[in-house]
Each structure stands twice: as C-alpha cells, then as structure tokens.
C-alpha cells in the first residue's frame, strides 16, 4: 500500500514538473519576438568587472566597456575613428585650447529628464571636485573652465593644448546626470539604481557579482539611432566554444593561445563569423623598481632586470604557449600596428650565458646545491635569490616557462596564481617583486603615463617630463618623436619586460546580431575589445539602410542639401578620400547651420 502511494506521488511530481517545463518552453517561444543577445563575458581572469556605474566599475577595459553601454561621452569611436556622440559637432580654437561642443537636442536620461549643457559642466566640475575617484580619467587638470553658452552649447577651456583631448577626455569621460549626482558626496559607494542612469543605448536591468552577469535592456528612446536588440546579457560560461555552438551565447572572444579554438571554428563551423581584432594588448613582467631597497631590492637594479630579460625566451613563449597566436612584444610597449610604434627599441636577445655573466658581475656568485644563486654578503636580503611570481591563473603556462628559464640562470621562482583584483591591489601597493600582468590601450600614448601600470614603483623625472611634453605637443611628427623617446626609455630601463602581443578574435552567430566589430584604436582611451555600444545601433546617416555608411548615403544627403542633380564628387567633406562618420558629421553640421568646422 505504502509503495503504491509512493509511486503515485512520484508520478504526480514528475507530471507537475514536466508541465512546468512545458509552460516555461511556451514562455520562451512567446518571447521570441524580443531579440536577446548573449555574450560570453569571460576574459582572462574572470568575468566580474564591478557594478557598471561610473565610479564603481573595475578599472580595466572590460569594466569600462560595460559602463559605457549605459553612459555616453561627448565623442565616441567606430571602426574608422572618432564620431559624434552626445556632441553633434565641435570646433576648436586655433591655439587648441578652447573647444566648443554642440550638443544633441534629443538626448534624454533613462529617467526621461532632458540632457543639457549643464550636465556636461556639472560632470567635469564633479570629476574635478572628486579627483582620483574616477580612476579611468587622469587628465582632468587640463581643463581650466567650462562655460555653458546655451542649453545645447558648451565651451571647454584648457590650461594647455592637449593633443588627444577629443579621445582622452571628450571620448572618455562619461557624462553624468546633474539631477542625480548633485546630491552624491561619496561616488565610490553610490550603487543605487539611480547610479546607472545615463543616456546610453542600454539600461541596466540586473547586475550579479556572484554570477558575473550583466543584464541590459534596450533604451528605445535613444537619440542616436535605432536599437537592434531588446536585451543584452554578458555572462560567464564554463566552456565558451561549446556554449557558442549550442547557442547558449551568441558571441565569444578569443585571444592568444585560444587560436586553436578559432582554428576549429574556421575549419568546422562556417556558420559563425570570425572578426580579427587589432590585438592592442601586451603581456609583461612587471618589476618592482622601488628605489627603497627594503621594498625594491634586487629588482630595482637595472642590470639585474637586464639579466632576467636575457634569461627569458620570449620566442619560445610565443611558439609554445601561444601556438603562434601572437607576436613577441615591442620592448617599448606600443603595438607595432599603431602609428606610435618605435621599431628601434632595445632588444634583449635570449642568451642565458649573457644573463649569467651579468649576475656574476653583480656579485650573485655563490650558488646552493640546487644551483640557486645567493645574495651577496651585506645585501638588503640574504639567502637564496628567490621570488614569488604572481599572475592570474590564465597565464600560469607563461609563468611555468619563465620559471624554467630563470632556474637556468640561478634565480628561483615560485609561481603564485591569483585573479586580477588581488594582483592589481598588490601592484598598486608596491608589495611584489615580479608580476606577470598585462593591459590594453597600447595604441594610445596616454598609456605610457605610468609605464609599469598598475604599479607605480618606477620613478623617472626625465621620463615624466618627456611624457608631459608629448601630451601638449600639437604637431604630430614632433609628438611622435617624443613618444618614440618614451618607448626607448622603457626598453632601456625595463620597469617592465614585455612578453607578447596576443592576437584577438571575436566569433559570433551572425543570425542573432551581425554588427560586431573592433573599434579603431580601441574603445574609449584604447580598450581593444569588441563590446562597443554601436553594435546595438542602426545609426543615423544610413540613408539606404544597409547597415553601413557608404558613399551612397553621403552622396544622397549631400545632393539633398546642395540640391544637386548629378552624381558629383562632393561627398568627401574632410577630403581624406574615404567616407566616414566625419563626413556625415560635417554634412549634418551644414544642415544645422554650424559649418564650417575643424575636425580634430
């Protein structure tokens, strides 16, 4: 009797369960009209990049890009370069110090308040009042004054001309709603729902730190184009290639050693599209160069760092760990594909003999039974020359090779795998000897401000003055020479020893969303990721609605304005022989009666 009851109960339960599953499936079917795009948010070392408000995102590229979906900047970048965003257009005075921005009249905040020039003024003053709180913004002191001319015109006055103002400030600082932030005294702890109200094309629905997931919905009232999606989710998945194949996610990015997965997609799965990225990223060994021997010894000795550089076989790392999914890095940090690249930086030939000779001449001559060198008598440290090498688990293969390489020159290494957060904290605190870490943005000289970023143990006043000089240098060739010098100093002084630049790929299902691209010179100040908010937008300027700005679009507009009948050759407004957003902006300004302008 009891058994029968039990069986009945099990049957009932399973029926109820299958019914609920069916109901759920119905629900999914009903929602099919809504377009959801899911991205595998995992980047090396994790997928949680903090609450995507302007002051609380984790200060690395993926954190900024998740915030930038919610907040707009005055300018932005697409695949070709700088385009208008909250500013429709701009002019700059001849001395390069006074910038006038003409703002979009249709922009609204997510809470439906109007966006005006006051918000721009407020944002810059707020950032200045809370200097250092927005960790992604380092040049705020270049701004002298902000004047509101009318609701939609704002003038920004600089202390000195700034070569990269249009990208590094106008294209980087998220504009905040004054009506919300005026009452916020401690922006780092402000994590309300109001903290994520911006003007961007997406609104935040949910952020889950534990699950590393970000859920956004479309802002249908967006001022700068029509939304292509209804919902966007960035989530962590265990096995990204499998998730892409089964449709659990619609886009995955790969890099470096993951070339084998990309090859698999290329060979066996033509239904997915592969975009190759600019790979503006560098992996490097960061040395503690603190002049204070209690902290920096012995890595603060230049010859010691040079010995390590000679002792690391970068080519082997590229061929074995990366499977040739990257290239040995420029020792001066900037990427070889960038216009700022200096090909003449010092190169450290892999040669253990040279390394051993240097270490011997430094007095590290005694060795223990395992061949590990001993510190010279009377040095700051004693015993074995041994270090912890901190790195994210993702780079433990690289760390393993370096460990083997350095053992051959008598330096002991303990590899300590961790995650981005603790390692960055360690670097900022200067509590390390050697770390394997990396960063993007190496197409923008701005990244050279702190060459060992995020560590700041390397101090060189001469270097700093060259950096400042290039920052205000408006002549491109002279500035390039200065940036070349910076790279040479880094290559000679070795605050970091660069290892490699990984290739990057974005693989996606074009049936779900076909607009993925890599931004020219990276998103914002140079983030080499594919998560640009423009992928969610069908933007204005697309007169023939083919999803691209083409000659036809511009010609059509131009003919409308100029009331021309023939196919004249007038469409190239900035005369660079290419049609791009600048041309469209130019024409838009003609319509609005603000031309001619100088385009930065």
């Amino acid at each position: 009797m009891k058994k029968t009851v039990l069986i009945l109960a099990v049957l009932l339960c399973s029926m109820a369960f299958s019914a609920s599953v069916l109901a759920e499936n119905d629900g999914v079917a009903a929602m099919d009209s809504d377009k959801t795009v899911k991205m595998a948010g995992g980047t090396p070392g994790g997928a949680d990049w903090g609450y995507p408000a302007p002051f609380t995102f984790y200060p690395r590229g993926p954190g900024y890009s998740r915030m930038s979906l919610l907040f707009d900047t005055l300018t932005w970048k697409d695949a070709d370069g700088v385009i208008p965003a909250l500013a429709d257009g701009w002019t700059v005075s001849d001395d390069g110090k006074t910038w006038t921005f003409y703002l979009d009249r249709n922009a609204r905040w997510h809470d439906n308040e109007l966006f005006t020039a006051d918000d721009v003024k407020f944002t810059i003053e707020y950032m200045q009042d809370h200097e250092g709180e927005f960790t992604w913004f380092e040049a705020i002191n270049y701004i002298n004054d902000v004047q509101v001319i009318d609701d939609y015109t704002v003038v920004i006055d600089l202390n000195a001309p700034m070569a990269s103002f249009l990208v590094d400030i106008a294209g980087n600082v998220p504009i905040l709603p004054e009506h919300i932030w005026c009452d916020v005294s401690d922006p780092r702890t402000f994590k309300d729902d109001d903290a994520v109200i911006g003007t961007g094309p997406l609104k935040l629905v949910d952020y889950d730190s534990a699950m590393s997931s970000y859920q956004y919905e479309a802002n249908y009232d967006y001022y700068d184009g029509k939304l292509l999606v209804d919902e966007f989710i960035s989530m962590e998945v265990g096995d990204a290639p499998a998730a892409l194949k089964t449709g659990d996610v619609d886009e995955v990015s790969f890099w470096g050693s993951e070339i084998i997965a990309v090859q698999d997609f290329k060979d066996n799965h033509p239904e997915f599209t592969i975009v190759t990225g600019p790979s503006f990223w560098v992996l490097q060994v960061i040395f503690n160069c603190d002049a204070d021997d209690t902290k920096g010894y012995p890595t603060n000795i230049l010859e010691f760092r040079q010995a390590i550089a000679h002792g690391i076989d970068r080519d082997e790392i590229v061929s074995q760990v990366l499977n040739d999914g990257g290239i040995p890095a420029n020792t001066g940090i900037m990427h070889p594909d960038s216009i700022w690249y200096n090909p003449d930086c010092a190169v450290y030939e892999y040669n253990p003999d040279t390394a051993n000779d240097i270490l011997d001449s430094l007095g590290f001559t005694e060795k223990n039974s395992e061949g590990i060198r001993q510190y010279p008598a009377g040095a700051e440290r004693s015993g074995n020359v041994e270090f912890y090498l901190y790195t994210t688990g993702k780079f433990s293969r690289e760390a393993g090779l370096i460990q083997t390489d350095l053992a051959a020159i008598g330096i002991g290494i303990y590899v300590s795998p961790s995650t981005w957060g603790p390692i960055d904290d360690r670097l900022k605190a200067g509590n390390f000897d050697m770390v394997i870490s990396g960063h993007g943005g190496i197409s923008n000289p701005q990244i050279m401000r702190i060459p060992s970023w995020p560590a700041s143990t390397y101090q060189n006043s001469e270097y700093d003055s060259i950096f400042t000089a290039q920052e205000v240098e408006m002549d491109l060739d002279t500035r390039k020479e200065l940036v070349d010098q910076l790279q040479e100093v880094v290559a000679d002084d070795l605050p970091v020893y660069t290892l490699y630049h990984p290739y990057m790929w974005c693989v996606y299902n074009p049936e779900v969303l076909d607009t993925w691209f890599y931004t020219r010179d990276g998103i914002g100040i140079g983030i080499p990721l594919e998560l640009n908010k423009l992928i969610f937008l069908a933007r204005y300027g697309d007169a023939n609605e083919n999803g691209e700005i083409s000659m036809q679009d511009v010609t059509k507009m131009e003919r409308m304005i100029l009331e021309l009948d023939d196919e004249s050759d007038m469409a190239d407004a900035n005369q660079d022989d290419e049609i791009n957003m600048q041309d469209v902006t130019h024409i838009e300004l003609i319509i609005l009666g603000r031309a001619p302008i100088r385009i930065g």
Binding site: D239, A240, P241, A242, K245, F254, S257, E258, I260, A261, D264, E316, Q320, V321, N323, Y388, G393, S396, R397, A399, G400, L401, Q403, T404, Y414, V415, S416, P417
Partner: protein
Amino acid sequence: MIEGRKILGSIGLGILTIFVIVAVFAPYIAPHDPHQMYRPMEHPSSSHLLGTNDIGNDILSEIVYGTRVSLFIAFVVSVISMLVGTSLGLVAGYFDKVGFLIMRVVDVVLTIPRLPLIIVIASFIRPSIWNLIALFLIFGWTMPARIIRSEVLTLRRRYYIDATKMIGGSDFYILWRHILPNVIPLVVVQFIMEAIHVILAESGLCFLGLGDPVAMSWGMVFHYAFECPIIYVSDVWMWWMLPPGLCIVFTVLGLTFVGYALEETFNPKLKNPFGGMER
C-alpha cells in the same frame, strides 16, 4: 565470499604494484622528458602515444612522471598521519587525562569541514608539494587518533594487560608490546583510507588550479586539459583528459580492493559469518 575478497585484493595489489613500478622507474618508462617541448596539440602517433598538450609536452610522459608526484604526496601524508595519529591514539586511550585533552582537540579539528578549508588555505599559501603535504597533515592525524584510541580503550581492560601490570610491566612496555601490535591492522586500514582521500583531494586542488603548477601531478594534467578551449568540442579529451582521470580511478580502486581484502584478514569475524555470535 572470502575467495572473492582474496581475488579482489590480488587485483588491487597488482594495480598498485604497477603504479608503484611506474613511479619508481619513471625516467626509464617515460618515452620523453616531460619538460621537453614538441609541436603543441599533436594527435596521438607512434612518437607521442597520447599526443602532446597545449605547450607541446608529451602527455604520456607527463602522466608517467605525474604518478610519482601523486603517489609521493599520498604516501608521505599517509605515513606521517599514521605515525602521529597512532601515537596520539595510543596515549589518549591509555592515559585518561591526556586522552581527554587530545580528544577535545580531535573533536575541534574534526568539526572543521576538511576540503573547503584546505581549498581556502591552499589559495593563500605558495603552491608547492611540501605545502600541500603540510596542509593535508593538519587533518590527516585526527581520524586514526580517534579510532586507535577507542580500540585501545577496550584493549587496556583485557586480563592479560592487568596481568602484565601486576608483574611490573611499565606503561611504555604494555603499549609497545601488547597494545600496539593489536592495533596495527586498524592502522593499515586507516593508512589506505587516508591515501585514497589524499589522492582525490590533491587531484581536486590541482584541478581548481591550487596545486604546484610545476610539479605535474595527475590533477595538474587534468587541470591544464580542462583549461584548453577546445577540450570538449573535439577529440582532444580522449587522450589528454581521460588517461589522468583513469589513473586516479584505478589507483583509488586498487587501494580500495586491497583495503577490502585486508579487512577480512584482520577481522576474523568476517571469516565465519557466525563468528561474531559465538563469543
């Protein structure tokens, strides 16, 4: 029933012998140096029977050398745990006051969830074989200590112990000559239980990336295989992930069989199903 146990025991012993031989003679058995790098991601071939991994190491050689690491850790931890656990168990069972103190410490350590705490500590310390061993030792001694103590508690009330005392046998003499030999079977079974536990836990830690990245144990091979982005979407798992997994399974299986067979040898009640009733 009894025959079955014997057969299983022989099989288990056979498996373990094979692994021990592989571990001891790894340099002669492995076809390549496990650190030598060849072309990465090669499929199995006559020169690389299990192919090569993501950085070009010969996978078979890695696994052969991994046997050394995995068995070494298990052996060292089990031996030390047994030495410490047995000594403490003997003392705790024989001397009431000291025993009380020791058992309270055991109680405290036993209430701590073992694996989660090991994971937490392992993520903070330098990953190396010796640190892993030290970590396992923190917990390894408690179970044997408790089990040995309870056995000693019954043994010390036997008449022959009283007799030995009456003719002037010292405490140490009694423990050494009369009690220790009687608890050895229990120690051996505990040794095997501990070895099984350590092999599984070590693989688990390595799999989570908390092991020594350079000491290539089976768990580490498994870990790097799991990190490979195409491990599930191609055939790679068959020669990279499966073999170290099978090694772990077979070692644990071998240990279990041996333990099962020994249980019979040491527990006479199992020889005769009614043995327990006769007393």
